[in-house]
């Protein structure tokens, strides 16, 4: 008897969902022996024989569904084993995975598969996605168009419906699988670059939330991932308030040692916090995540120093990476803080008594600072001259956004600053 059958029997009798799920992974180490144990003619008969006599399979429909599932899995295993490594036709494997998913759906709808077998659903959806990506990659290498991943998203959606539409009492409901599947869908939609579809799920979900257990009752791993995706969707929609809440939750509940996940969460949480709370990440925080340090340090440094030219240069320098991670537009807006810091330094540079009335010209000089100079107010011949109207415009902008308190008197060409806290939130 092939080990795979033994594992299957054990998993079913001990109700070990995780073990049962792992059987249907394309990575199952028993895949090879299983694939070569029989042939297309005999596979069904073999499976029927091997899994006969199991008590949990007394129900005719349940047994039939498991037989179909194992046969479908065998076909995939056969494709993967038969074709030599690089020659595997992933498109063919994808078709197999699709069949496997459909048989799985039937298992739940007709075959009365209990809720503890949910890991089987997880595994099958997961491998459908993996194989779809491999198939698309392969097609692209051959110069063909392939849309298997989009197709896969539609099929995973079936599993989603399977979860939320289960009417069984909550203790044994498939509803417990909802967030895992939703996360998988998010992941797929993000890979497909269609945030719109991701938003759709968030629109559908609340409707079925009413009869669902509270979020905290679900496995933490599901929830942290879910919160992360919610946060990213809010982030992309520029709903920074919600983004902050979701991402903070995700960060606080994230497993302590999963550096990679924390890094992903922080990639969005840091720009969000910079924008909403005008807070820069501490060096201590960045030192724990070297990748984030390289990503954010240059920009943070220029924000602190208030060197606008250097800020632009840092943004340009990291543009490709920022755009790829979809944080460019957000970081760009932190220039306000850099400018606030620069103007603040201009004010601090003045004599104590003349701090409430400052000529616009002073700000103009400061804005023209060259990129390399770190000393504020140093005037050099290579300065970038900014028109006085533009300086005024940006000052008005600062005042309008509440980063500065005061007003511009155009006739006198001066900025009249509030005597008390001209830069709210800073010590000045």
């Amino acid at each position: 008897m092939t080990t795979l059958y033994k594992t299957f029997r054990r998993a079913l009798t001990t109700k070990d969902g995780a073990l049962l799920g792992s059987i249907f992974s394309p990575e199952n180490p028993d895949r090879g022996t299983f694939a070569f144990s029989t042939n297309h003619e005999r596979i069904r008969g073999d499976v029927e024989y091997e899994i006969s006599g199991l008590t949990p399979l007394r129900d005719e429909n349940t047994r039939a569904a498991w037989i179909d599932t194992l046969v479908c899995y065998w076909k995939i295993a056969y494709i993967l084993e038969r074709d030599d490594g690089a020659d595997v036709s992933w498109a063919k494997a994808y078709e197999g995975q699709k069949d496997l998913l459909l048989v799985m759906v039937r298992g739940y709808t007709k075959g009365n598969w209990p809720h503890w077998t949910l890991p089987v659903m997880y595994q099958i959806c997961l491998s459908l996605r993996t194989v779809a990506i491999l198939s698309d990659d392969q097609a692209r290498r051959l110069g063909k168009a392939s849309e298997h991943l989009e197709d896969a998203a539609r099929y995973i959606n079936k599993a989603f419906t399977l979860c939320i539409s289960d009417r069984a009492p909550i203790e044994e409901s498939r509803k417990w699988g909802t967030y895992y599947i939703v996360n998988l869908m998010f992941k797929t939609y993000f890979k497909l670059n269609s945030v719109g579809l991701a938003k759709n799920i968030l629109r559908v979900l609340p409707a079925s939330l009413a009869d669902m257990p509270p979020l905290e009752a679900f496995p933490k791993s599901h929830i942290v991932t879910f919160k992360y995706y919610c946060g990213v969707v809010s982030f992309l929609e520029e709903d920074y308030g919600n983004a902050q809440a979701h991402l903070t939750y995700a960060l606080n509940h994230c497993k302590a040692d999963s550096i990679r996940n924390k890094e992903l969460i922080l990639t969005y949480l840091i720009p969000t916090t910079m924008l909403t709370k005008h807070k820069l990440p501490t060096l201590e925080l960045l030192s724990r995540f070297p990748r984030l340090a390289t990503l954010f340090n240059p920009v943070c440094k220029t924000i602190k120093s208030g060197n606008l030219q250097a800020f632009d240069a840092a943004l340009r320098h990291g543009e490709e990476e920022f755009v790829k991670r979809r944080i460019y537009l957000t970081l760009e807006r932190t220039k306000d803080i850099a400018m606030r810091n620069l103007f603040r330094k201009v004010v601090l540079y003045q004599n104590e008594e003349s701090r409430t009335k400052i000529p616009v010209r002073q700000f103009q000089i400061a804005m023209g600072l060259e990129a390399d100079g770190d000393t504020v107010m140093r005037s050099t011949p290579e300065r970038v001259e900014v028109e006085i109207e533009e300086v005024e415009c940006l000052l008005a902008n600062m005042i309008y956004k509440g980063l500065m308190k005061g007003y511009i008197s155009r006739e006198r060409q001066t900025v009249v600053l509030s005597g008390k806290e001209p830069f709210p939130g800073t010590v000045v």
């Binding site: 992309l236 929609e237 755009v323 979809r326 807006r333 109207e389 005042i399 008197s409």
Partner: protein, 509 residues
């Protein structure tokens, strides 16, 4: 000697032949199998007497070889079938030895020709594709002719009516007014219990409506109209030769009689370009372009010409500030460029950036930025659009209005759509930032107005007329018009909020 080899041998050859023939005539979908030498197909004839041994002329063997030499695999079955038919016919006609096989067109060519003829034939025949019979061209008087299938139109024009199975005899005769009366009779009678007084009137009303509907239908559906059973696999080819056509939103499958084929559409575009230059009648041009686009779509045409059509329509729509129409074109262009068709992709990328600014669509903007190549960023128009985006993000209205005044190509028209709104936003900043008042001239310059008058008009439109005042110099000579900023802030805050809340997202990509 007269029968082809696949007919010889086998005891019930006749039966097999029968089956073979019927399949043959159906598969080609040609309405009638066109014969290369003008003879009629002998589909009904049982095979003549068979001889056990058949011989082929060498030229025929070469012909067969040529046929399969460069035959694409997906067409192979059809070609094989056609080849069999040709050879069978040749045997039946006993011309197999006399025919000049080396001058004979290949089955592929014949098939291609048949497809075209099959389409053309539908001008005279109203048969649905799957009911093709073996009629010859000489008998156009099919019993089905001039009996349009009304079912499609009915479904649309008469709400509440259920679709009947197509092909029922009732469906083929136009409904008479009596039948409408009957149908409309029902509801008032049910309603009588509750509304006894309205019965008579509503009956007459409904009769009137029934009549009106019928008139409308006649108008849109000329007698020759022949809605076809849609065949999704094969794009239809139009046969309308008119250059002009009014746009009408299709409610049923397109009729090839009213669809213009590509070569006509090409002339149409030239004509429209001429007319736009000479007459500049936008409503006419837009209507014509929409019908032009529709004809392209229903015929599944996709090539560089299509790109040109959409580009020209997009530019005209931009010029007229018709952003809805522009966006439809842009959406199509986006996918056409992606499929590799050539046009002015860079120009339209720049427009797209500006359009995304207009719709405040940051998610798509992110996407677009991620897909820009370094080469794209060097293009003048794209550079300009990107700068517009970045200065707006920074709240730098000073630079924004400069960029507005120097927008390349049609970019200025697009910017028109959000300049008004950005002016209000800028006014908010100015009102908050400058105290106690500000020179009108300064506003004119900073907000990109063409004259002080325009600026004053803008202020008046925003109910800020009271806040404009004339200032006099030392000797009582008026030297400037000032605007009181502090008091105007709430006004412009409100205006800004209203301006940003409604953004056109029709057909959003």
């Amino acid at each position: 000697m007269s029968a082809p080899p696949w007919r010889s041998g086998g005891t019930n050859g006749n039966n097999r032949n029968g089956a073979f023939h019927s399949v043959n005539s159906r598969k080609t979908l040609s309405g009638r199998p066109i014969h290369h030498d003008g003879t009629q197909t002998l589909t009904q004839n049982p095979a003549p007497e068979q001889t056990p041994k058949t011989q082929f002329p060498d030229k025929l063997k070469d012909y067969v070889a040529r046929t399969f030499e460069d035959c694409p695999p997906d067409e192979k079955a059809a070609v094989e079938l056609e080849l069999k038919r040709i050879i069978t016919d040749a045997f039946n006609e006993k011309v197999v030895w006399s025919l000049e096989w080396d001058k004979m067109p290949l089955p592929q060519t014949i098939l291609a020709r048949k497809k075209v003829t099959a389409k053309e034939e539908q001008t005279t025949k109203t048969l649905s594709m799957n009911r093709v019979s073996n009629e010859t061209k000489a008998s156009p008087a099919s019993p089905f002719i001039r009996k349009p299938n009304y079912s499609n139109v009915m479904d649309v024009d008469y709400p509440g009516r259920k679709r009947k199975s197509a092909g029922s005899s009732e469906e083929l005769t136009p409904p008479t007014p009596d039948r409408f009366e009957e149908r409309f009779d029902k509801r008032p009678r049910q309603g009588d219990k509750f509304l006894p007084t309205s019965g008579k009137l509503s009956q007459r009303e409904k009769d009137k409506r029934a009549k009106r509907f019928e008139d409308e239908r006649r108008e849109y559906l000329p007698d020759s109209a022949t809605p076809e059973v849609p065949d999704n696999k094969k794009p239809l080819i139009g046969r309308c030769m008119d250059l002009e056509k009014r746009y009408f939103r299709l409610t049923s499958a397109p009729n090839p009689d009213h669809v213009r084929p590509l070569h006509v559409l090409e002339k149409t575009l030239e004509m429209l370009k001429r007319k736009w230059r000479s007459e500049a009648n936008y409503s006419y041009i837009c209507d014509q372009f929409k019908s032009l686009r529709q004809d392209l779509t229903v015929q599944h045409i996709k090539n560089d010409f299509v790109v040109t059509v959409y580009e020209i329509h997009a530019r005209i729509a931009l010029e007229k500030g018709d952003l809805g129409e522009y966006n439809q074109c842009q959406t199509q262009l986006h996918s056409l460029y992606r499929e590799g068709f050539k046009g002015h992709e860079e120009e339209f990328k720049a427009y797209r950036i500006l359009y995304l600014i207009h719709t405040c669509n940051r998610a798509d903007m992110n996407e677009l930025l991620a897909n820009l190549t370094p080469a794209d960023k060097e293009v003048k128009a794209i550079k300009h659009a990107l700068e517009v985006r970045s200065v707006l993000a920074a709240g730098n209205f000073h630079r924004f209005f400069r960029l507005y005044l120097e927008a390349p190509a049609m970019g200025g028209y697009l910017m028109d759509s959000f300049v008004a709104r950005e002016r209000k936003a800028a006014m908010c900043m100015i009102c908050k930032g400058y105290r106690p008042d500000i020179d009108i001239r300064f506003l004119t310059e900073e907000l990109g107005f063409e004259s002080d008058t325009d600026c004053v008009n803008f202020l008046c439109e925003n109910e800020a007329a009271d806040l404009i005042e004339q200032k006099s110099g030392d000797k009582g000579v008026p030297n400037s018009i000032r605007f009181q900023t502090a008091k105007a802030l709430p006004l412009f805050e409100r205006a800004k909020k209203a301006a940003f809340s409604k953004v056109d997202i029709k057909g959003q990509l």
